[in-house]
């Protein structure tokens, strides 16, 4: 059938029978993908994104009950026998997973694994030809020195490089459809930008259609032609990216778009939280699944589930009130109004004392080998001389990619002992001079909130015991502890009556609030927040960010906010410090740094952040970085960024010499500081 669309999913439902209930993971979804099209599927965790595409690949566990139909070029995949299906899977449909390490076999070289796929599907191919093609494919996906790297094993590659290998395998047989499930979620932004670029290139070369599953609206805005929004196992809105981003018609999409911080607009307006969580998939209410979180729900919404209805050319939404939204009677701003900032009267007065002062702190780790006779085989300069300060009521955002030393920095501060080198002052007191008792007392002033809210709460303790734990150290009576816990839970927007429950009974966002409540128990002056929202679903993030903003205003707190998400930092921070390989390469006030970044790394980082706005994405110029972060054990002479620096590449060789030999120090440029010899010559543009 020549005219049939490439892939047609008709009334697909997937159920997982459980002991005494059934999880309806995907419910009656239908969509079509045409040749060469790029479809982005978004939705929060558990919305059925992965299950629906696993169904297409025929990769569901045998316990799954699938109904409906999946047609690939008019042929039903569900009726197809195993042999034909697996041939199709290698030749015509390719899949890329979030975790490439588990998808690659550790005992074969990457070259062999690519060649294997080629040979399996083309019996006529010679071994020699397959090997040559493997090298060629690695070159296409941007692996440097592919002739050498084909012989490497998967574990010798970084996460980004493994994902490139996965793409190479996926495009090896010129597929017609590539399904990528969160291919960049585990990667840093600059690497994510590279991988998305490679994916686009792979699409161009093979002419394949791509289905990209992601939770990041920015990634969809910048790459996809069409978007499908999933909620509680249903498709709730589909259409072209322009239609859906600019004129969303389903309140969930509306709320989602208003809740994500956007690198361009962040910090100017408050975020709109989308409270609550999706219904449980084994006990769905009869009506609209979004009804409990929907601010404009009406009685009818509780009775029947709204079907996906057309609103315009190829734009569909599943909402009873979509016509009113289409007619402009309901505006996004009315449905999800922006919360008001804390009134000035309620804001704490701050005097601007220095709460934390970090001067030239270093932390080196020596790597040793051998169990009995340890010999030193290298040195990791995790933190290599960094300085910053935080004043009362101020938020410093510390950003950088994984492995740049952010976590080591905060652990160094939290130890409250004298660092290997340099000094740390809290409230003007040098921590190296503290006695044991003074140190214990100081711990009141500085508290921490961790990234993963599940890991940060002891599963065996009740919420009350968890939140009260810091108080037990400081001789607070049981009655006072109980009273304080009630107050704290109230402060972070939870009910005091929840105190007797256990952490696993709470959602991710609620758990993070519990973590924040615990950190506030001793009335600290400084909170250290280690990626406090990055483990949360986007719709939940806004609520936690707003809470942190409010707490800061009301209690006059200071934050050291560690994050890799620049948009979040721009939203909440007053000052920002960008780290690269153990150093701060640029710092200044948020407004200055984001408006005019001076260091090429800052520029690359900013340009790699996807923006959830298709128009902005299209007009952007990207500065892509080459390669990965150098290994932390490497001795680098000169500027530690020179191996990837886009400015270095366009410099005159005489100027390059300085980058190669002299380590640049932070110096004031305009209103911020940057550590680059040639910042003045920097004409790279970012938006």
């Amino acid at each position: 059938m020549v005219n049939a669309p490439l892939l047609e999913v008709r009334n697909l439902s997937v159920d997982f029978p459980q002991n005494n209930s059934t999880v309806h993971a995907v419910r009656d979804i239908s969509y079509v993908i045409n040749r060469g099209e790029f479809l982005g599927i978004v939705g929060e965790s558990g919305s059925g994104k992965s299950v629906s595409s696993m169904a297409v690949m025929g990769l569901l566990p045998s316990s799954a009950q699938v109904s409906g139909d999946i047609l690939f070029r008019g042929e039903s995949l569900l009726d197809m026998d195993d042999r034909k299906l697996s041939r199709l899977r290698g030749n015509e449909i390719a899949m890329i997973f979030q975790d490439p390490l588990s998808a690659l076999t550790p005992v074969y070289t990457v070259g062999n694994q690519i060649a294997e796929g080629l040979l399996l599907h083309d019996k006529a191919l010679s071994k020699q030809a397959a090997a040559t093609r493997a090298v060629e494919l690695l070159r296409i996906v941007g692996i440097p020195a592919p002739e050498r790297r084909v012989k490497a094993f998967p574990h010798e590659f970084s996460g980004g490089m493994r994902q490139r290998v996965m793409i190479a395998i996926a495009i090896a047989n010129n597929p017609n459809l590539i399904i990528a499930d969160e291919p960049t979620t585990a990667l840093d932004v600059t690497i994510q930008a590279q991988i998305l670029e490679v994916l686009q290139k792979a699409k161009e070369i093979t002419g394949a259609a791509v289905v990209l599953i992601t939770h990041d609206l920015g990634v969809v805005a910048g790459n996809a032609d069409r978007i499908a929004v999933m909620y509680a196992g249903k498709l709730v809105e589909t259409g072209s990216v322009d239609d859906v981003f600019n004129r969303p018609h389903m309140p969930y999409t509306l709320g989602l778009l208003r809740s994500v911080p956007n690198l361009i607009t962040a910090g100017k307006t408050r975020l709109v939280p989308l409270e609550g969580r999706p219904p449980s998939l084994d006990a769905l209410p009869p009506g609209c699944p979004f009804e409990q979180r929907c601010p404009i729900a009406i009685d009818a919404c509780r009775e029947t589930e709204p079907p996906l209805l057309s609103i315009g050319s190829s734009h569909e939404a599943a909402c009873l009130r979509a016509p009113e939204i289409a007619a402009g009677q309901l505006q996004a701003a009315d449905v999800f109004p922006r919360p008001e900032p804390i009134p000035a009267a309620d804001q704490a007065k701050v005097e601007g004392r220095t709460v934390l002062e970090v001067t030239d702190v270093k932390r080196y780790f020596t790597l040793t080998r051998g169990a009995v006779f340890k010999r030193e085989i290298g040195k990791v300069k995790a933190v290599d001389g960094i300085s910053f300060d935080i004043h009362e009521g101020e938020v410093l955002g510390l950003v950088g990619e994984s492995g740049c030393g952010k976590s080591t920095t905060i652990l160094e501060i939290l130890e409250l002992t004298s660092p290997q080198d340099g000094s740390i002052k809290i409230d003007g007191v040098d921590v190296s001079t503290l006695t044991k008792d003074q140190r214990l007392a100081k711990r009141k002033d500085i508290q921490v909130v961790f990234q993963d809210p599940m890991a940060a709460l002891d599963p065996r303790l009740t919420i009350e015991d968890i939140v009260a734990e810091p108080l037990t150290v400081h001789n607070v009576s049981k009655a006072d502890q109980r009273r304080r816990v009630g107050e704290l839970l109230d402060t972070v927007g939870l009910e005091a009556s929840m105190g007797s429950r256990y952490p696993h009974e709470f959602s991710g966002g609620q758990r993070q609030r519990i973590g924040i409540a615990r950190a506030l128990a001793t009335e600290p002056k400084l909170l250290i927040l280690d990626e406090p929202v990055s483990a949360l679903d986007v719709s939940i993030q806004a609520g936690v960010i707003n809470l942190l903003e409010d707490l800061k205003e009301r209690l006059g707190l200071s934050y050291l906010f560690v994050a890799h998400d620049l948009a979040v930092v721009r939203q909440i921070a007053d000052k920002v410090a960008v780290m690269y390989l153990g150093r701060i390469v640029e710092s200044g006030r948020v407004a200055d740094v984001f408006a005019r970044p001076h260091h090429p790394y800052t520029q690359a980082l900013m340009s790699a952040v996807p923006i959830p706005d298709p128009d902005a994405e299209r007009s952007r110029k990207r500065i892509l970085l080459d390669g990965d972060l150098p290994s932390p054990t490497d001795e680098i002479s000169g500027c530690r960024f020179h191996s990837r620096c886009p400015l270095f590449k366009v410099l005159d060789p005489s100027l390059q010499q300085r980058c190669l030999t002299e380590d640049p120090q932070l110096r004031v440029i305009d209103t911020s500081s940057a550590a680059c010899h040639h910042a003045e010559l920097n004409t790279l543009q970012v938006t």
Binding site: L281, A283, R443, Q447, V448, P459, R460, E469, H474, R501
Partner: protein, 307 residues
């Protein structure tokens, strides 16, 4: 016991859908629910409970005490007067078995948990503190593992005399905690890096409070299993030592000494051997059933109950 899988502390979280978590139970309850539906567990508990009761009140039903010598009826089989028969010197086997069971139970129920307590304490401390202290403790554990405990006991047993059974409790505990301590140490090492432990440390919570509040409860299920199975080990250790004459010393009786006395007559007068042996086997079997059921309930990969 080292084969027990490292515990997945978040099992419940991964089992439940976030949307319905509030209705589900905590991990402890989950274990209890699985345990409750295991017949093995109830059989074991019932038998052990009955045996404990019997050990306590068993002598009420007979007018013989274990030291009485009914010389007229020596070497006779079970009868209305001597339910389990008598031995060479006319002592009542029923009374001796009850008293022997008491001793074996006491040793098992004290030495097993004591050994677990020791492994919990040493293992979690070494794992949590790390560094020099950990190296020294590990070295000591390994040393104990290669010391010939039996030989040591042979050397000291003549010195103990009638206090031997108390000494035996500590002796057995002292030589059975090491393997579990290593398991706990390894678990603690992975727990130490968990954020909730780090958080507690940065709040200034003391080391021992962290061990008690965060580490030990999170390995509690392992410890409970170990304590149960430890009871079995301790009873076996006691009986075999006593059997060879190095444990409980006459005139004290335990199931082990009874068995030793009865072996020579096992073929001619089987009751002297069979009754104590039967009681011992029943006891070991029942405790193992409990331990087994516990292990299945805790180890999520073993049960069919996993959703």
């Amino acid at each position: 016991m080292a084969v027990i899988e490292p515990l997945d502390l978040d099992t419940t979280a991964s089992l439940v859908d976030p949307g319905k978590a509030p209705k589900r139970s905590s991990r402890g309850r989950l274990i209890w629910i699985r345990l409750r539906s295991t017949p093995r567990f109830w059989i074991g508990v019932t038998v052990v409970a009955l045996m404990i009761i019997w050990a306590i009140i068993g002598l009420w039903f007979t007018h013989w005490s274990p030291t009485d010598q009914d010389l007229i009826n020596s070497r006779t089989g079970p009868s209305g007067s001597h339910w389990f028969g008598t031995d060479d010197i006319g002592q009542d086997i029923y009374a001796e078995t009850v008293v022997g069971l008491r001793k074996s139970l006491a040793i098992g129920l004290i030495a097993g948990p004591l050994s677990t307590l020791l492994s919990a304490f040493v293992g979690s401390f070494a794992g949590y503190v790390g560094g020099k202290a950990d190296s020294v403790i590990s070295w000591f554990i390994n040393l104990l593992l290669v010391v010939p405990a039996f030989f040591l006991l042979v050397l000291i047993s003549p010195l103990l005399k009638d206090k031997a059974w108390v000494a035996l409790i500590f002796f057995i505990a002292a030589f059975t905690w090491m393997v579990m301590a290593q398991v706990i140490r390894a678990q603690t090492k992975s727990l130490r890096d968990r954020d909730f432990v780090k958080a507690a440390r940065f709040m200034g919570v003391g080391t021992f409070t962290i061990l008690r509040r965060h580490i030990v409860p999170n390995v509690a299920s392992l410890l409970i299993i170990d304590a149960t199975l430890g009871v079995v080990y301790a009873i076996i250790a006691e009986t075999s030592l006593s059997y060879f004459g190095f444990g409980i010393q006459p005139p004290q009786v335990s199931l082990g000494t009874l068995l030793a006395d009865g072996t020579s007559a096992a073929t001619t007068r089987p009751w002297v051997f069979l009754f104590p042996a039967g009681v011992l086997i029943l006891l070991l079997f029942a405790v193992s059933l409990i331990g087994d059921a516990l292990r299945d309930a805790v180890d999520p990969t073993s049960g069919a109950t996993r959703g």
